[in-house]
Symmetry: C3
Subunit: 367 residues, 3 copies
């Protein structure tokens, strides 16, 4: 038998028409990670973000600056120029821009013409991260940047990593919302069959999608059991939450404790991972990751072991999403369909949200 | 003088408008070679055929299976998954498909939803070859697969080869219909000037195009003369036929004998080559070849010598058609024209046939 | 502040709408350099010019020939064939063309059909250069080829070079019209800040754009000062002219002399560079260069030093224009704008001229 029927495919395609996918326009009115704070300094750094070429650098005082990476005069990349004090000098004709994007000197003219400039993007530093706003500047409210204070807290030890994912950011978000892939993509790292079938509860609010999965009682694998002191404890609990917080931020948290103890005697150990995707193009993504734990803080070997283990798993996702992208980009739209199942509920809700955000921006810009 | 005139070019372009070329849609209602039988086993093999990603494998009993190489759930390539028994498990979320393409397990669900599946393609094994039907399954009649029984016959010794031709399959077919290129493309291998000018008879029926070229008397080159015992015989006959049998099959046969002997005393030696093109993309072709002879069967050195000699010549065609493709793909359609001559008759008839087959399918699918 | 305003950008885009840029159609009714004379001989040379594949070779008598590099029969590249006497034999089916592009032999036919042929382009040899006309042959007047007699004169010593510029030819022309980039692109070679600010006079006639820049008095750098005998002379004059002569020819000349001497006692030393861009594609250019001087003629070491120094600078332009092209090709047209300043006047006038030439041809071909 050849499946599925044309009717099934048509229904799947109708359903997908309001779900974000690789060709959905980017959402600009949002804070995205432009770079790790440590990446940006006194060298000019050019980086493509949301399909646009952006120049990043710091002023002499250390303030981060983001400008369009294209001279307003003849389109030469400013990142190929030089940084002099707090100004950027174009490498072609020497047009000089200040940190607000205003052109303040045209070498061939005694008086600099007014109204030459390049776009400056609001950029905010929060601990390890630089957040950029590439949409309507009037709507750029730093108060909407999600909380990342655990990264700087003494109660946590963190490590970070980056992948240039050769896949679209929507697929990455859906991958993160979904725990049923663990047993397959991560069969060799930390997937276990019980995980795919574990019960879960979802909380699907507009723009905030959360899946909580409880595995109680369970036996922890050594990577978590050893540093948390729960190795060999048959009554361990493993409570995982996976939260879409914004198009630029997905947080995964897991808590471990001995479920045999009463609530007030429990010592809860937590790990937390901030997954921070910033679209580069419609088929590639800057994938920033910061991982932390709140136990065994002084033991550097735990940091190293956990980092290795986790980033091996993240790399598995990156490779799988790359293979997926190759299929998506080479399949004619009319032949493409996705059939969703119950466990896709949170991912589908999230993708509908991304689609509606993109559509809303697109409608506004056409007003 | 600058030639040809606009009128000549316009006429040539009008004539070409009903001849298949690189951008003509593929013909789907046809049996094509998907792979040599020996290529497909218990490893998952992904291969692009007629522009579509296809998964090939064998069941435990050895039956060949062809499925769409894209999970119906989230488009992950099934060829990146695993084969368990007679089922394919997707490497992303573990959706399990049977050999008919039906999804029989979704790990996150206790009951597998109905109506999830991927397309299964009819696939038939005939000796050394696996034939796939990618068009309307209702029309898939194994009886229309062309006869290849010589490949398995004790009366023949065969060898096989494959090229990933970086050119379109229409150009390859036309190359095979045409013997006037031998003296040029194969000047260094087995072309001789007399061949280009040898008389020929054609038989052009709808879907079956045959050119027969007789060179009698002639002196055979050593590669044919030695094993056939006709070396040095000045009255040798060399009768070559080139037959288009289907969009997926072109057969070339040559017979040698001593024309000085009466019919009933002649010992006829024959060689036969099945040229089996399967489009990969509009600019690339899986070019399967099986070559056989019905003489000197026990002499393995003849097999080796003939294989080397022939495949060197086939490689010359592959390289020439690659150069041709680079011109075709880089020339704007409005500037392209082809002026045909008498000897192109069979090729032109064949190309008109391919065009009408493609157009007929396209008309049907729009009904 | 984020700049520039939408109104400024819209005005800039309106202004640019009549200026040639990378996507403006090529101008065909013009003589372009097809090759250095020394490049073309008795080997078949295929080269893409103005987006078309052209075959170049010489007859036995040494006359240069330019034909379409595509057989009229089945589009095989003629440059992959062979040159026999004054005829080109296609490497596929042996169609033979004479130097006028007429097909004079089809091997499979006893009588060659008439009216088969490929386009022949007018091509004229002038000293070191071969000039090709790819437009309307009726308009091909060799009298409009610009004067390059200095290249063959005993009064000059010349050297030549070539770059395959990965940028469009319009950007190269604008780069050549403009001397304000010297201090930036050539900061490490021969740019000096005073050059960017030096006064200049322009002469902007339809199709002839000239900028003259006088730096008097000045101290010459050793590269010019030593061979001209003006090293250390504080009253040296340096008069540079930059002239757009045609879409295919931009000439830069510089004269040096001691401004303290009366006119009739001055010994004027001159250098002259012919910049000869021929579009290859809309994003790449054959950049031919011939540089000469009329002093220190016998000193070969001066030739070597000047060549090294100058071509290092030209390479800087080539690299800068390549970076610029990467921005232009990756920026959506609606986001692209260029804000011009006073010193861009000659370049803008030249680009409007190129645009009007291209538009005029396009209008004609649609008649």
């Amino acid at each position: 038998m050849t499946r599925p029927s044309d009717a099934i495919i048509a229904a799947a395609q109708r359903g997908a028409a309001t779900m974000a996918q690789r060709d959905t326009p980017f959402i600009f009115n949002e804070w995205y990670v432009a770079a790790f704070s440590a990446e940006v300094g006194r060298d000019l750094l050019g980086r493509k973000l949301l399909g646009k070429n952006v120049l990043l650098f710091r002023t002499q005082e250390g303030r981060a600056v983001a400008l369009d990476d294209r001279c307003a005069h003849r389109s030469y990349p400013l990142s190929a120029g030089t940084l002099e004090g707090d100004t950027v000098v174009c490498g072609y004709h020497g047009f000089r821009y200040d940190a607000s994007g205003d052109c303040i000197q045209v070498p061939s003219m005694s008086v600099c013409p007014r109204a030459i400039g390049v776009r400056a993007y609001p950029i905010i530093e929060r601990g390890l991260l630089l957040w950029i706003w590439m949409g309507d500047p009037a709507q750029a409210d730093p108060g909407t940047i999600r909380d990342t204070s655990f990264m700087e807290s003494d109660a946590w030890v963190c490590s970070s990593g980056y992948f240039n994912l050769q896949g679209n950011y929507v697929s990455l978000h859906e991958n993160l919302m979904d725990l049923t892939h663990l047993s397959y993509v991560h069969a060799k790292s930390f997937g276990t069959p019980e995980y795919a079938q574990a019960p879960y509860v979802t909380s699907l609010n507009d723009g905030h999608y959360k899946v909580t999965r409880s595995v109680v009682p369970t036996l922890l694998p050594p990577v978590w059991g050893d540093p948390s002191g729960l190795s060999g404890v048959p009554t361990a609990a493993r409570i995982a939450t996976s939260e879409f917080l914004s198009p630029a931020f997905h947080q995964v948290g897991t808590s471990f404790y001995d479920s045999a103890l009463p609530d007030d005697e429990r010592r809860v150990c937590s790990i937390r991972t901030a997954h921070l995707p910033t679209p580069e193009t419609n088929g590639s993504t800057h994938y920033f990751i910061i991982h932390g734990r709140d136990f065994a803080l002084a033991d550097a070997s735990v940091t190293e072991t956990m980092h290795e283990r986790l980033f091996m798993a993240f790399r598995e996702d990156v490779e799988a999403l790359g293979k997926l992208e190759r299929v998506l980009e080479s399949t004619p739209p009319e032949e493409l369909y996705e059939i969703s199942v119950t466990s896709d509920g949170p991912g589908v809700a999230m993708r509908r949200y991304l689609f509606s955000r993109a559509k809303s921006e697109s409608d506004q810009s056409q007003d």
